[in-house]
Amino acid sequence: MRNIWAIYKKELRLYFQSPIAYAVLTIFLILMGWLFYSNMAFFGRISVQAVQNPRLSSQLSATDSVFSPLIGNMTIVLLFIIPALTMRLFAEEKKQGTFELLYTYPIRDFEVLFGKYLACLTVFLVMLALTAVYPIQIAVLGTLDLAPVLAGYLGIFLLGLTFVSVGVLMSAVTKNQLVAFILAFGVLLFFWVLGFASSILGPKLGAALSHASLIEHVNNFSRGLISTRDLIYYLNVSVFCLFLTVQALASHRWKG
């Protein structure tokens, strides 16, 4: 436990004592702010039209038309923001040679991994927490349905968890940060677009592909639907990636 905690503290220090965390947070918040603003502006336009149409106005909800799309937008931003957070975790240690020194301390592979993983998740949670201003603004300006918002956040958290796992794995297989970034981004993007072809490929294969697709599962959450199927999907992928990471970390022993 103490080892995990030590690694965790060190990684958080490195995130916040170097410009990485600030650069990532700034870019993320600027993008999210702009997306929120456009969703809001669009919603405002529809609301004005809805004044003349009582049937439409009864169906209008700020949560559905501003927050749910915002969750969808956030997943796209995270697609490249998370690999930027994870790329240095192991790649930099390998490049700088600190990896060698680290592995002569009495510490186990999984302790290193969990310390780093949790530190990265913490930065991600800070990012998520800062986006809480958007639902709060909706609540101030109109009415907010709390349940779909919480479901949406749970979905995005699970998605982020999975992204971080994939990113950590890719960082553990190379000593070049850029390669780690491209690999993580590419793999995530691939599993994202996997569902696109599902409608052409026939019912069975199509269903399988859309189940494997990362994005399909978050859609349910952003609609306010929490199902164990989606939950287990994300946890499965995460655990699998972490397992592979431990194998990759041990590889310096047999690869030489």
Binding site: R2, N3, W5, A6, I7, K9, K10, R13, L14, Q17, S18, Q96, G97, T98, F99, E100, L101, L102, Y103, T104, Y105, P106, I107, H252, R253, G256
Partner: protein
Amino acid sequence: MIDVQNLTKFYGHVPGIQDVSFKVESGEIVGFLGPNGAGKSTTMRILTCYMPATSGTAVVSGFDVFDSPMEVRRRLGYLPENVPIYLDLTVRDYMNFVGDLKGIPRKKKKDQIEKVLPLCGIKEVMDRIIGNLSKGYRQRVGLAQALLNDPEVLILDEPTTGLDPRQILEMRDLIRDLAGNRTIILCTHILPEVSMTCSRVVIINKGRIITQDTPENLTRKLEKKSTVEVEVAGPSAEVKRKLESVPGVVAVAARDHAGAGADSTVFDVESSHDADIRRELAAAVCGGGWGLLTLRPVSMTLEDIFVQLVTEEEG
């Protein structure tokens, strides 16, 4: 303290080291000497449990590096080549981090840091970011992290590369002071370093150990003849003839004018190993009426031994 038997490591089909065996007693400083790429770092990486050997055994502080790596790591201090430390942390944060990882109890950790920082001379830079420190300071931070757990075995891989001459001297003094009851392996390709600090030398080349002995014994074993440097002011041809006539002299070679004055010549006079012919040489020069400027026995440096061994090996 360290017992290495028939250690072999293959990288794919390429042998990194082959059949390396040596022992280091407790309290000894052993120099691990070899040209670049000889297998020094590979051996150290196995001893520090960074990677396992293909075959052979290594026991450090009574624990096998393969069977109980955690026990070995707890008793070990290691400073790898190029001093890989986290450049974005302050010295204080880094020391705390290393203390935690080395499993030093919380209360003792603070005392240890207080003890090690002044020892390595980095107390005054404690709150600075390591990346902003000079190379000399970084090297000392590297040494401090190795010493933090008060290790029984200290492995230093080229600890003086990149330091200025004064810092090199300081580092060597520090290493000598550290010895006490600690066992130290000093990897280097810088020869004077070994003759100045180590009680024993292990010479490795192309993954195999060529020889191991004290620096003095190595010198004695390999010196088949002794050489005396004689500088004489006088006609060089005549002086040379006179020197050659001294009994016991095997060969006389006049050096090129390097180091010699306008009217003097430096000769390397070789004699058989155990004969001391300095008195006879002096008498001969004075007898000829010339000025004797220098008379100095030249002993074989570790450098000569090293080159000789490595070339013999290749030849």
